[in-house]
């Protein structure tokens, strides 16, 4: 009898715990400050900063919003682990628990044709983003980067960013081995080889895509077409000349260079399986060079010991091409009940200087001060990280507005000069603002992308002894996958875009 009772009790406990577990899968409910206050949830990438100053800044932003719009903003951080997958699932779930989301160009291009975002009609923008509409009176093309197939789905960053691929090297090591100040890319490759041959335990570089950018930028003026993961490029000196990067002579020569560097021991033979970051390895003195854009190179150099005397270089005579403003945009949840409020909030964040400075730089006089001519001086840079205002620059990158943007006047030696020169010489091509819609030919895209992932890595890590044959195999595989059809569609869409 007793045993029977125990059995019954266990059965009931199991059933109840299962029910409670399933009930837990429900939707959370948002609460505002009072009945009228609207809460706008902003989904962003990266980790939530832990500094007190960060909380203080956002508290102030919310106080201002409450007064101006009777709105509160709640920030939700997705972290850095597969944010794109998280975003897609969130959108596919059809929930209304967020209003706006930071979105990169590639994902925007894939999801917009499948109606994943709220359509931003002229009427909506006129009513809710008056400050932006005023700015667009001067240059109406500034929001082009948020259009897919002519429909406005996103608000892009308000800046044409001239990409500038640079290299940071160790000045102390260069001098130690009697190498002259580098004047061309070949000098850099030579420097890397010398360091690897003489410095025990040191690698040349941690292999990444950045080496490819450094390799071609400055020698040619190529831009990347949004929606193609930088695989389709265009020549910015011509009107409409698009091509697949892998079919170019430059890529073939790059593959040969990679093999040469790998043979010289510039990176580990199993670097392809090495997940350590290039930044960490360079900062900890394990690699001789680091390739990235000038600002990131400068940021890294600032963290390194002064005696290493890090030097930053950019080579080549051809102007760099503006990267797409669609690289970072804001999209809106089509199921949100507070779309209007979200647009109003974004209008203030991007086009109201007070909000803009507060979010990007923190409190004026406390965290930064005006240094004139588009520069600021960092006031809390020497404080411990927990006491600084570390605006999560990556999360708020899509808010960048060139009208208010300021650069740090105390950037690492040479960084601002290289940056300014690149901006002056840079080329802004109309195709920069185009977003390719690959949904028209999804099969070709899926197969081509798959073939690229199969072949390109081995070539770029220099793992293939017979580069010629392997490269030919890549080209054959791409042709079998339907490269001609794919490129014809790219060309067609580009011509239509330019015509309109």
């Amino acid at each position: 009898m007793m045993r029977k009772k125990i059995k019954s009790i266990i059965a009931i406990i199991i059933v109840l715990s299962t029910i409670f577990a399933l009930v837990g899968c429900g939707e959370s409910k948002k609460t505002g400050l009072n009945d009228d206050t609207v809460t706008v949830v902003w989904v962003m990438e990266g980790d939530e900063p832990t500094s007190e100053q960060y909380d203080k800044v956002w508290k102030k932003v919310n106080e201002m919003l409450l007064e101006d719009l009777n709105v509160q903003v709640e920030l939700e951080f997705l972290g850095y682990t597969n944010p794109d997958n998280q975003k897609q699932l969130r959108l596919a779930s059809g929930t209304n628990d967020f209003e706006m989301m930071k979105m990169g160009g590639s994902l925007l291009a894939q999801l917009a044709p499948r109606f994943a975002f709220a359509e931003l009609t002229d009427e909506l923008l006129q009513e809710n983003m008056p400050l932006m509409m005023k700015a667009l009176e001067i240059d109406p093309t500034r929001i082009e980067g948020g259009k897919v197939d002519g429909v406005q789905y996103a608000i892009p960053m308000m800046k044409t960013n001239i990409s500038n691929s640079c290299v940071a090297i160790r000045g102390d090591l260069r001098e130690k081995y009697g190498l002259d100040v580098p004047t061309c890319k070949e000098d850099i490759y030579e420097y890397i080889k010398v360091i690897v041959a003489n410095e025990s335990g040191m690698m040349g570089l941690q292999k990444s895509l950045a080496l490819w950018s450094f390799y071609y930028q400055g020698d040619v003026s190529w831009g990347a077409l949004t929606g193609t993961d930088n695989y389709v490029l265009f020549d910015a000196t011509e009107e409409c000349n698009l091509f697949m990067k892998y079919t170019t002579e430059e890529y073939y020569n790059y593959a040969l260079l990679c093999r040469e560097l790998k043979e010289a021991g510039c990176w580990s033979t199993d670097a392809i399986n090495d997940s350590r970051s290039a930044e960490d390895l360079f900062e900890s003195g394990l690699t001789a060079a680091y390739f990235h854009n000038v600002d990131t190179c400068g940021m890294r150099a600032q963290n390194m010991p002064e005696e290493w005397n890090v030097e930053i270089y950019r080579f080549g005579d051809c102007g760099d091409v503006a990267s797409s403003p669609s690289a970072s945009t804001m999209v809106f949840n089509p199921n949100s009940e507070h779309l209007e409020s979200a647009l109003q909030v974004l209008d203030l964040f991007m086009f109201d200087e007070e909000y803009y400075n507060l979010i990007q730089l923190g409190f004026e006089g406390e965290n930064w001060e005006d240094a004139g001519e588009g520069y600021y001086r960092d006031l809390d840079g020497n404080l411990p990280e927990t006491e600084q205002y570390k605006g999560n620059w990556y999360a708020t990158w899509n808010l960048i507005n060139k009208d208010f943007e300021r650069r740090n006047i105390e950037n690492y030696t040479g960084v601002n000069e290289i940056f300014n020169k690149a901006q002056e010489e840079g080329i802004v091509h109309p195709l920069t603002k185009m977003i390719f819609n690959s949904e028209v030919i999804p099969t070709e895209k899926a197969v081509i992308w798959s073939e690229i992932s199969r072949y390109a890595n081995a070539l770029e890590f220099g793992m293939v002894a017979d580069v010629d044959t392997y490269y030919k195999n890549l080209i054959n595989a791409l042709e079998t996958a339907g490269l001609d059809k794919f490129m014809a569609e790219v060309q067609k869409q580009a011509e239509e875009f330019l015509k309109n």
Binding site: A11, I14, T18, F115, N273, T443, G482
Partner: protein, 311 residues
């Protein structure tokens, strides 16, 4: 007593009589219904061009368009061959080692030693493949890996595992077998332990050696279990263990060129495409092949021994 008002034979009577057992079974039923059967309806996405605003049911139909990419690359033959051949080796070698272990454990008379060994041998099963992948990398790394360090100390040349494609088939089999052998042997050990000890005692009295006992008694008694386990595993013959490939081979495209299986190919293609319809189509394609393979193997088992078939 309380069920006397119901007919002594019938559904409601049985429901009332076995209510406690049925209640205990309920969570399993709910689990399968919610997480296994209900999502099956999602397979309809394989035939639709998914539209976020319309949802699964309202999205427009697109026929077999989503299946096209599987056939387009011209790799399907090789992918299927790799998937089947590697999985078959995983299965056969894995089962062989598991059965061997179970027999060894059953023959060892030192109980404490058996239990401790069994516990240690089961540990790898509970280690995540991500961790195993990082262990493999640290073992096989060219510059700092354990294997190469030992080779250099012994006066040999370093061995470049990551550029040596053929060796990876064996590395995968080795780690897959190592990880699953302890846990997998439990089923066989349970069968061996449940065998009638009198048979062994009688054989011992008749003078049977340890090998004769294993060959003539243990293995024949294990035969039905082996067939059942084999049939159950056949269901995943066409479904590559993605975790093994992704974590051990990683992004090494030189190796994946040769050892690509259906799962890695599909994930590779879908990671950049984010196309739910194509993912559903690929999954359905695999499920159909798996179903056919189980069906055929069940027929074969039925022919050999009617009692060994699953259905």
């Amino acid at each position: 007593m309380g069920v006397c008002w119901l007919k002594k034979q019938g559904f409601l009577y049985d429901l009332k009589k076995y209510r406690i057992l049925l209640l205990m079974f309920l969570p399993t039923l709910v689990w399968f219904a919610v997480f296994e059967y209900a999502p099956m309806a999602g397979i309809v996405m394989a035939f639709k061009r998914y539209n976020f605003s319309l949802g699964i049911l309202e999205s427009p139909w697109c026929g077999l368009e989503n299946f096209e990419f599987i056939f387009r690359s011209g790799r399907l033959g090789k992918l299927l061959w790799n998937t089947v051949s590697i999985n078959f080796l995983f299965l056969v070698i894995g089962m062989f080692v598991q059965i061997l272990l179970a027999i060894l454990f059953s023959e060892i008379t030192m109980r404490r030693f058996t239990k401790v060994t069994q516990m240690f041998i089961c540990i790898p099963y509970f280690i995540s493949w991500v961790v195993v992948g990082s262990v493999v990398y640290n073992m096989l790394n060219y510059n700092y890996g354990f294997v190469n360090t030992v080779l250099v100390k012994l006066g040999f040349e370093r061995f470049d595992f990551y550029s040596n494609v053929p060796i990876w088939r064996y590395i995968l089999i080795f780690f897959n077998t190592w990880k699953g052998m302890g846990y997998g042997s439990v089923v066989y050990l349970a069968t061996v332990t449940g065998m009638d000890s009198e048979i062994y005692e009688a054989a011992q009295i008749d003078g049977a050696t340890i090998w004769q006992r294993i060959w003539k008694i243990t293995l024949p008694c294990l035969k039905p279990t082996i067939i059942t386990m084999f049939l159950l595993s056949m269901g995943s013959l066409f479904r590559g263990n993605y975790q093994v490939f992704a974590n051990i081979i990683g992004g090494n495209s030189l190796v994946t060129q040769e050892l690509d299986v259906l799962d890695t190919y599909i994930v590779g293609a879908m990671m950049s495409g984010t196309n739910f319809g194509m993912s559903a189509a690929a999954s359905m394609f695999q499920s159909i092949i798996c179903f056919i393979s189980v069906f055929i193997m069940n027929r074969v088992a039925k022919k050999v021994n009617e009692n060994s078939a699953l259905f």
